[in-house]
């Protein structure tokens, strides 16, 4: 019961944040809404027993990536959004498409509710850092190393792109 209430609270926070992201016209407000979404998701991860992920969700997503966003918004001094109408297709085709997508997926989930069962707060030490570390550095060692190379490349790319042309 407590579990469900907590989930509903956090889920509502999530959805509210996401909706606010859409509703706000100023990017910095959107960014902060997204931080709220991410923080709430971190809490939901805790409900799912993924403590380590919850922590790095906060540190990496909310604390690093979103700070970068905010930083860029501040750097470019981005103002409120223009209400231009460059794409009618996005309205006519895309919005119904996205809604249909959501409704369809939701409908599948609801109709298969029984089949999926339910999730409890994990009583075991599931999601502990040790186990993830073991997976990451043993079973997924190669992908891990590859992602580190990816990050390196991304850094270099960002440096090259961001450099002022002399």
């Amino acid at each position: 019961m407590v579990h469900q209430i907590l989930f509903i609270i956090f889920a509502l926070m999530c959805v509210a944040g996401a909706v606010n992201l859409l509703r706000q016209s100023h990017p910095i407000n959107s960014a902060l809404s997204l931080v709220v979404v991410m923080a709430s998701l971190a809490l939901i991860y805790l409900l799912l027993g993924a403590e380590f992920l919850a922590a790095i969700q906060v540190i990496v997503y909310a604390g690093a990536i979103m700070v970068l966003f905010v930083f860029v918004i501040m750097l470019l001094n981005a103002g409120a959004e223009e209400r231009s109408t460059g794409s009618r297709i996005a309205l006519i085709v895309g919005v119904p498409g996205a809604l249909v997508l959501g409704v369809l997926v939701g409908w599948i989930m609801i109709s298969n509710n029984k089949l999926l069962g339910s999730v409890a707060i994990s009583p075991t030490d599931f999601g502990e850092t040790h186990f993830i570390a073991r997976l990451l550095f043993r079973d997924f060692l190669l992908p891990f190393e590859v992602t580190s190379v990816l990050i390196l490349i991304a850094i270099m790319g960002a440096v090259v792109l961001g450099r002022k042309e002399s």
Partner: protein, 113 residues
């Protein structure tokens, strides 16, 4: 006990909100944030299923038991990729802004800077 479908529906809702953000927002940074929102929505399904498989067990088509924590690892990778994407993407946004002096994607509709 929370039904798994709740998590998945939440994920779908977040994802669709991300899609809508992409469709409706004009600011390129906000659009980028919508992408991050979609990534987060997907991460949620990973974590939810990781928990689900850990609790329920199960076999892969290859006959090996499912390692529930793999979902966490995938989330980890998604985060790494998102970080890389943010670094490069924001650098691109800065480059675009320098030349076109706008962040409105409706005005950035030529395949050049």
């Amino acid at each position: 006990m929370v039904p798994l479908s709740w998590y998945l529906i939440l994920s779908a809702v977040l994802f669709c909100l991300g899609v809508l953000g992409f469709l409706l927002k004009r600011n390129i940074i906000t659009i980028f944030m919508s992408i991050e929102l979609m990534l987060n929505a997907v991460n949620l399904t990973f974590v939810a299923f990781a928990n689900y498989w850990n609790a329920h067990g199960g076999l892969l088509p290859s006959g090996k038991p499912v390692v529930g924590l793999s979902g966490h690892v995938f989330v980890f990778f998604v985060m790494v990729v998102a970080a890389a994407e943010a670094a490069v993407g924001l650098a691109i946004i800065i480059a675009v802004f320098r030349t076109r002096e706008t962040l409105n994607v409706d005005r950035v509709n030529l395949l050049k800077l």
